[in-house]
C-alpha cells in the first residue's frame, strides 16, 4: 500500500507545518513550561544545595566553668552561626530576636549550680523549622552534658542516612524538572485537541469525510506529530534543567519510551473526550483548564503528594497525572527498569484513563455526527 504510505507522509507533513506555524502551540507547549520551570527552579531550589544553618547569639552574663564548657561546644556546632563571636548582653540579644536579625538567643547558665539553659525565640517563629532545629541541637547538647555529669558513656547513637530507591538522592531540581516535563506533555494532550473543535466548527472534518481520505490515517498522522512535539518538549526541558540548573538524570530509555507513549496517548484521549462535547473552542479551553489546574496542584508536580493535607491525598491517587509524573520520575531519575511492579500498575491506571476517555469520546462523536460511519 504505497499510496497509503504517501498519504500518511503528506498528512504528517501537513500536521507538522500547521504546528510549526501555530504560535499558540509554541507558546503553551514550549515557552510556557520553560518559563514556569525556570521560575520554580529559581525560587525553590536555591536552598536545597546548602545544609541547614541558623544565626544565633549567645548570652553569657556571668561566665563560669559550666557556661565556658558549653560555649566551647556551641562554637563547634557548624549549623549554628554566631552573630558575634563573643557573647553579647541579654538586652542586645533580645533586640536582635525582636528584629529577627537572629533566629534565637541562647542564654548560658548563670552559675555552675544553675543548670538551666535558656532559649529565646521570636513568637512568630516559634513553630518555624529553624527553631525546631535549634531546639533539637540544644536538646542533644544538654543530654550529653547530663551524661557527662553523671559519668556515663553513651551506648546508643543515631545516625541519619537518607534513602531513596535510586542510586542518588532525589534533589528538588530533579523532582521539579521531571514534574514540568510530565506537566508539559499532559497539557499538550489536554489542550492540543482544540484543533478538533476548530476543524469541526469550520466544517473541515465534514469536508474530509467527503473525500476518500482515511480518517484513521489522518488521526494517526496527527498523533505522530503530537508525539514528536512531546519529544521536543522533553529534550528542551531536560537540556535547560540539566545544563542550566544542574539537575541530574538517570534515564532508562525503554521505561521512558513506554511511559511517554502511554502517558501522551492517555492525555490526548482526554483532550479528545473534551473535544467531543465542546461546541466552541472557549468551551473546550474551559474544560481543559479545569482539568489541567486541578491536576497541576494535586498530582505532585511541584511538591510531593505527601506534603498535601491527609484528607486531600486520596484525590491524588485517582488523578492520572499522579501516575504519569511518578512513572516519569522512575524512568528519568531512578532509571527504573521494566521489572518494576509500581511502574506497570501506574501504566495500567494511565491506560485505563486513556481508554475510557477515548471510548466515551468516540461514542459521543458518533452520536453527534450523522453518518460518521461512512
Amino acid at each position: 500500500m504505497s499510496h497509503t504510505r504517501q498519504q500518511f507522509a503528506k498528512m504528517l507533513t501537513t500536521h507538522l507545518k500547521m504546528t510549526m506555524r501555530e504560535k499558540q502551540a509554541w507558546f503553551w507547549g514550549i515557552f510556557f513550561p520553560v518559563i514556569l520551570m525556570v521560575l520554580f527552579m529559581l525560587i525553590f531550589s536555591g536552598s536545597s544545595d546548602s545544609t541547614f544553618s541558623a544565626e544565633v547569639a549567645i548570652v553569657e552574663e556571668q561566665p563560669n566553668a559550666a557556661s565556658q564548657a558549653m560555649l566551647q561546644q556551641l562554637q563547634q556546632i557548624s549549623a549554628l552561626e554566631l552573630k558575634s563571636d563573643e557573647p553579647v548582653t541579654r538586652e542586645q540579644a533580645d533586640t536582635w530576636v525582636k528584629e529577627k536579625e537572629i533566629a534565637a538567643a541562647i542564654i548560658l547558665p548563670e552559675a555552675e549550680s544553675a543548670s538551666a539553659l535558656q532559649l529565646i525565640v521570636n513568637k512568630e517563629n516559634e513553630q518555624g523549622v529553624a527553631t525546631q532545629a535549634i531546639v533539637g541541637i540544644l536538646d542533644k547538647l544538654v543530654q550529653q552534658a547530663n551524661l557527662t555529669a553523671a559519668g556515663a558513656v553513651p551506648t546508643y547513637e543515631l545516625r541519619l542516612e537518607s534513602v531513596s530507591s535510586g542510586n542518588e538522592d532525589l534533589e528538588y531540581k530533579d523532582f521539579l524538572l521531571t514534574g514540568m516535563i510530565a506537566l508539559a506533555i499532559a497539557q499538550g494532550g489536554l489542550f492540543g485537541m482544540v484543533d478538533m473543535v476548530e476543524m469541526r466548527r469550520k466544517g473541515l472534518l465534514k469536508r474530509l469525510r467527503m473525500t476518500p481520505a482515511k480518517m484513521s490515517l489522518f488521526g494517526l498522522s496527527d498523533m505522530t506529530m503530537r508525539m514528536l512535539f512531546g519529544l521536543v518538549q522533553i529534550v528542551i526541558l531536560s537540556l535547560i534543567g540539566v545544563l542550566g540548573f544542574g539537575a541530574t538524570l538517570h534515564l532508562y530509555l525503554p521505561s521512558l519510551i513506554l511511559v511517554f507513549l502511554v502517558g501522551a496517548l492517555s492525555f490526548n484521549a482526554m483532550g479528545y473526550l473534551f473535544s467531543s462535547f465542546s461546541k466552541t473552542t472557549e468551551a473546550y479551553m474551559g474544560m481543559a483548564n479545569i482539568a489541567s489546574f486541578m491536576m497541576m496542584f494535586l498530582s505532585g508536580i511541584f511538591f510531593p503528594v505527601e506534603t498535601m493535607p491527609e484528607w486531600l491525598q486520596p484525590v491524588a491517587l485517582v488523578l492520572p497525572l499522579t501516575y504519569f509524573v511518578d512513572n516519569l520520575r522512575e524512568s528519568m531519575v531512578y532509571a527504573t527498569g521494566l521489572g518494576s511492579a509500581s511502574l506497570w500498575s501506574g501504566l495500567g491506571i494511565l491506560a485505563l484513563w486513556g481508554a475510557a476517555a477515548f471510548l466515551l469520546g468516540s461514542r459521543l462523536y458518533k452520536a453527534k455526527s450523522i453518518a460518521a460511519a461512512r
Binding site: M11, K17, K202, G203, L204, T211, P212, A371, R374
Partner: protein, 309 residues
C-alpha cells in the same frame, strides 16, 4: 446520459421533515441548479447526495453506483465545495491542494488547478490572509483537484462582491466547457438564470418545479407590468388610467399621483394605443418601463415567498 438519479428522497430529523419527496435526474455536462427558500431542504438534499447523510428512504444512483456499495468509488469521482469554505488556514493554497490531491488515486496537477482558479500569484500565501473571493475559489479548486465527473457547489458566491462573483461564474462556465456536470445552489436568481441549463425549485422538502430557466419564465402568465410617469398634473395620469382601463389587453391598473401602473397581456398593443392617446391630448410622459419577467417572479409564483438577497 444521466449521471445522477435521485428518486423519492426522504429525511427527517426528529419530528422535522427536512426532505419529504425529492426526485430528479441530472444529465452529463449540464449545470443543474437547485434553488429554494431557507429551510426548503436544499442542504439536506445535497448532503444526502454527497454521502454525508443517510436518507430515510429513496434512492441515489451515480450511474450504476450507489453509496451503499461503492462509497469509495463515488468519492473518487465527485468534488464538493461545501457552504462553509472548509480550508486549512495555516497552509497555503498550494499546500491545501497538495494535501487533498494525496487523498485521491487520480488527481489533476496542482499547477493546473491553481491556474484555473486564478490563484497562481497567491499560491504561497497562508489561506488566512486570503480574501473571501480567493478563499471561495480555493474551495472550488479543492473540489476539482480529483478531476471529478460531478462537482457540487453549495452557494459558491454568497457574500462575495460582484467582481468576485463574476470570477466564480467564469470557473463554472469553464467546467462546463470541460464537459463536467455541475450541481449548484445559489441565492442569486441572476446567477441561476445565467449559468443553469436547468433549474429545480425546492420548497418544503419537495420539488416544486423543474425546467430550463427560459421555459420556467415562459410558463408564467403572460401579464407584464408597465409603469408610466407623467410630467403634468395628476389629471393627466388619471385621464390615461381611464383610457387604459377601456383597453381589452389591460387586466388591471393602479395609480399613485402622477405614477401609473398597469398590467397587460399584450404590452406592445397597450403602449401603442396609450401613446396615441397621450399624443392626442398633449400629455407629456416622463418615464416608461416594462418590467422584464425573471426567475425571481417564477420563484415567487411557485413558492409564494419573497426572495431575499
Amino acid at each position: 446520459m444521466a449521471v445522477l438519479e435521485v428518486r423519492n428522497l426522504r429525511k427527517s430529523f426528529g419530528s422535522v421533515r427536512a426532505v419529504e419527496d425529492i426526485s430528479f435526474t441530472v444529465e452529463a455536462g449540464e449545470v443543474f441548479t437547485i434553488i429554494g427558500p431557507n429551510g426548503a431542504g436544499k442542504t439536506t438534499t445535497l448532503e444526502m447526495i454527497e454521502g454525508l447523510t443517510v436518507p430515510d428512504g429513496g434512492k441515489i444512483a451515480f450511474g450504476d453506483r450507489s453509496w451503499e456499495q461503492h462509497a469509495n468509488a463515488i468519492k473518487m469521482k465527485i468534488g464538493v465545495q461545501p457552504q462553509s469554505s472548509a480550508l486549512f488556514d495555516l497552509l497555503s493554497p498550494e499546500e491545501n491542494l497538495e494535501l487533498f490531491s494525496s487523498f485521491y488515486s487520480q488527481a489533476r496537477p496542482v499547477e493546473e488547478v491553481l491556474e484555473m482558479i486564478n490563484l497562481t500569484d497567491h499560491r504561497n500565501k497562508h489561506v488566512k490572509s486570503l480574501s473571501g473571493g480567493q478563499r471561495q475559489r480555493l474551495a472550488i479548486g479543492l473540489a476539482m483537484i480529483n478531476d471529478p465527473d460531478i462537482i457540487f457547489l453549495d452557494e459558491p458566491t454568497t457574500g462575495l462582491d460582484p467582481q468576485a462573483r463574476r470570477n466564480i461564474w467564469d470557473i463554472i462556465l469553464r467546467l462546463k466547457e470541460l464537459g463536467k456536470t455541475t450541481i449548484l445552489t445559489t441565492h442569486y436568481m441572476e446567477e441561476a438564470e445565467k449559468l443553469s441549463d436547468r433549474v429545480c425549485i425546492v420548497d418544503q422538502g419537495k420539488v416544486v418545479t423543474l425546467d430550463t430557466p427560459s421555459a420556467l419564465i415562459e410558463r408564467l402568465t403572460k401579464e407584464r407590468e408597465i409603469r408610466l410617469t407623467f410630467i403634468d398634473e395628476e389629471e393627466a395620469a388619471a385621464d390615461a388610467e381611464r383610457f387604459a382601463q377601456e383597453q381589452p389587453s389591460v387586466v388591471r391598473t393602479e395609480r399613485e399621483g402622477t405614477a401609473l401602473q398597469l398590467w397587460s397581456v399584450q404590452p406592445e398593443d397597450t403602449l401603442f394605443a396609450l401613446f396615441g392617446f397621450t399624443k392626442e391630448r398633449n400629455y407629456r410622459v416622463e418615464q416608461v418601463s416594462i418590467r422584464e419577467m425573471s426567475l425571481e417572479d417564477v420563484f415567487i409564483a411557485f413558492t409564494g415567498k419573497e426572495w431575499r438577497d
